[in-house]
């Protein structure tokens, strides 16, 4: 019995140490974000500042760059992407799962192919077309390439296949039109899959750097990661207290959402594993 107890204690000790190492960058980030500049440059390792000057670094970070604007851009872009992804994917997935039509195999083949191809592959031609059409440097450029999500179609199709055909049949016999079947039966059943997909999509696009870096030039259109890049390379780059405060501001929304709904987040993000 005492050996079991010792093993449990050892296990907790190892886990505690590992967790401390994983969390250390976060702890340091927060710690330096509330330290006055002179305490950062003296190079002491205390976690708490010896003279607490409040959240001055945060105020100054917001003065240096409009970080709230970047966060707002992130919200707008992620919401628009998610809205169109679900709007386009859900009907398509329903048709693929429940309707027979000529060309269905071909469409599903297209979905499987698109599942393989990330934005890094398609970026050059899309950039060239947007550039010729004068569409660069806009919300449209940030959102449009992601509106048709093969992953969403694939996921929703899997989900719709589990809905019994009899249920749909019964509704048809009761005189429901195909569209009211979709609206009254399918949409409510989509919610769990849509929630998981929403988390996957928002995390992916909130954090994406590659595509925004290519299409955005105007600072007022910066997404959160672009905002961090601008912050680092500008005059604020070696004002580390402000830089850490900025990093806290940019990472906080997703981290807070994760801490509030851990299980849903882990479900949603690990779902994306199929996509790689």
């Amino acid at each position: 019995m005492s050996r079991g107890w010792a093993a449990a204690a050892l296990r907790l000790a190892v886990l505690g140490l590992a967790a401390a190492i994983f969390l250390l960058p976060f702890v340091w980030m927060v710690s330096f974000s509330i330290k006055p500049a002179d305490e950062i440059f003296t190079g002491r390792l205390d976690l708490l500042p010896s003279s607490f000057e409040g959240f001055l670094n945060y105020a100054r970070a917001l003065e240096l760059r409009p970080l709230h604007r970047y966060l707002l851009n992130g919200v707008v872009v992620c919401a628009a992407i998610l809205f169109f992804q679900i709007l386009f994917a859900a009907p398509c997935a329903y048709a693929l799962a429940k309707l027979r039509f000529r060309g269905r195999e071909l469409v599903f083949g297209l979905v499987l192919f698109a599942l393989l191809v990330p934005i890094q592959v398609t970026a050059i031609p899309i950039f060239l077309v947007f550039s010729t059409a004068g569409l660069l440097d806009s919300y449209f450029a940030l959102v449009a390439p992601f509106t048709a999500s093969a992953f969403a179609i694939f996921l929703f199709r899997q989900f719709y296949r589990t809905i019994p055909d009899d249920l749909i049949h019964a509704a048809r016999i009761d005189g429901c039109s195909e569209l009211s079947i979709v609206w009254r039966i399918i949409v409510p059943l989509t919610l769990p899959a849509a929630t998981a997909f929403a988390i996957f999509s928002v995390v992916a696009h909130w954090n994406d750097l590659f595509w925004p870096l290519i299409v955005i030039r105007s600072p007022e259109l910066n997404t959160p990661p672009l905002g961090v890049m601008a912050f680092r390379s500008g005059e604020a780059g070696d004002r580390y207290g402000e830089l850490m405060a900025g990093a806290v501001i940019i990472t906080a929304p997703l981290v807070a959402a994760f801490l509030l709904a851990q299980r849903k987040f882990i479900e949603g993000i690990s779902l994306g594993a199929v996509k790689g």
Partner: protein, 295 residues
């Protein structure tokens, strides 16, 4: 065709799929074909004209120093991050699974780097590893080790970026392993105990490891895919330097395509990148097939 659910409603089906299909053709299929075609030209943005050059862009790749460095660095990065983040993920999953308390806390602690904006955390890491002010070096100093410029030296920059990559990905792998562990029936452990395998590592080798095999392969392929796409930390911290020691494939594509506008060359690089993704995807599909056969 008819008699099945939805038979004879072809027009409706096409109405439902039209927006998505249009989007996929415009933003995925079309551009992919365009990249393949452009990789056969010598087009540079701003040049008066472009010519069809066949496979010249590809033939030039083996002799292209930057491409060779980028490919080698990407492979080295993957060769470090994949095994370490997978084994660490497995270890953490086993520890968390059997933790007597605080399971939710530990799982969240290890998963936190996955949800944190990579670019922001890259900037944090850059400061933490700062040669004179960074707390990492101050900590080393207390152990009597001279400060290191981890991200500023050609010899250490790639392993350091790989370490950040491990920190970012281990929690993701852990979660996949936790799902795999949950699907192992409890009775098998009891059966193993009856057969005399009652020490933890005996249980691991006789039950856990064989049953976790398919999950393990799956996680390895996903980790390879993710490491193959490394970009954020390089773009945010090192820009491929110093002296191209952290040049990776996606960063080279980004620079050639959107910095120097050598469209033909960048398109050929993109096709190489796509080929890598395809190979890994084929392996993944074979593994998924096999996993189905087990059941």
């Amino acid at each position: 065709m008819t008699g099945k659910p939805g038979g004879g409603r072809g027009w409706l089906a096409w109405l439902l799929i039209a927006p998505a299909v249009l989007g996929l053709v415009l933003f995925v299929l079309g551009p992919t074909i365009a990249v393949a075609v452009m990789s056969l030209t010598d087009w540079q943005l701003g040049a008066a004209e472009a010519a069809f050059v066949g496979l010249d862009n590809y033939a030039a790749l083996p002799g292209d120093r930057v491409f060779r460095i980028a490919l080698a660095n990407t492979l080295v990065y993957g060769a470090i991050v994949t095994p370490v983040s997978v084994l660490l993920g497995l270890g953490l999953a086993l520890l968390v699974e059997g933790a007597p308390a605080g399971r939710t806390f530990f799982r969240s602690a290890f998963f936190l780097p996955v949800v944190s904006t990579t670019v922001a955390m890259a900037v944090v890491w850059e400061f933490l590893l700062h040669p004179s002010m960074g707390p990492a070096n101050l900590l080393l100093g207390t152990l009597g080790i001279a400060p290191q410029n981890f991200l500023g030296h050609a010899g250490t920059v790639l392993p350091t970026l790989a370490a950040i990559g491990i920190w970012e990905n281990a929690g993701f792998n852990m979660v996949l392993f936790l799902a795999g562990l949950k699907s192992i029936p409890r009775e098998l452990y009891q059966a193993a105990a009856v057969d005399g395998a009652d020490r933890p590592w005996e249980r691991f080798w006789t039950v856990t490891f064989p049953l976790l095999g398919p999950t393990l392969l799956f996680v390895v392929v996903i980790a390879l895919l993710r490491s193959f796409k490394v970009f954020e930390t390089v773009a945010a911290i090192t820009q491929g330097g110093p002296r191209r020691a952290s040049e990776v494939l996606l960063y080279t594509i980004y620079q050639e395509g959107f910095g120097f506008f050598r469209i033909g060359h960048a398109s050929a690089l993109t096709m190489v990148f796509l080929a890598g993704l395809l190979v890994l995807a084929l392996v993944q599909i074979r593994l998924l097939d096999r996993r189905v056969h087990y059941r």
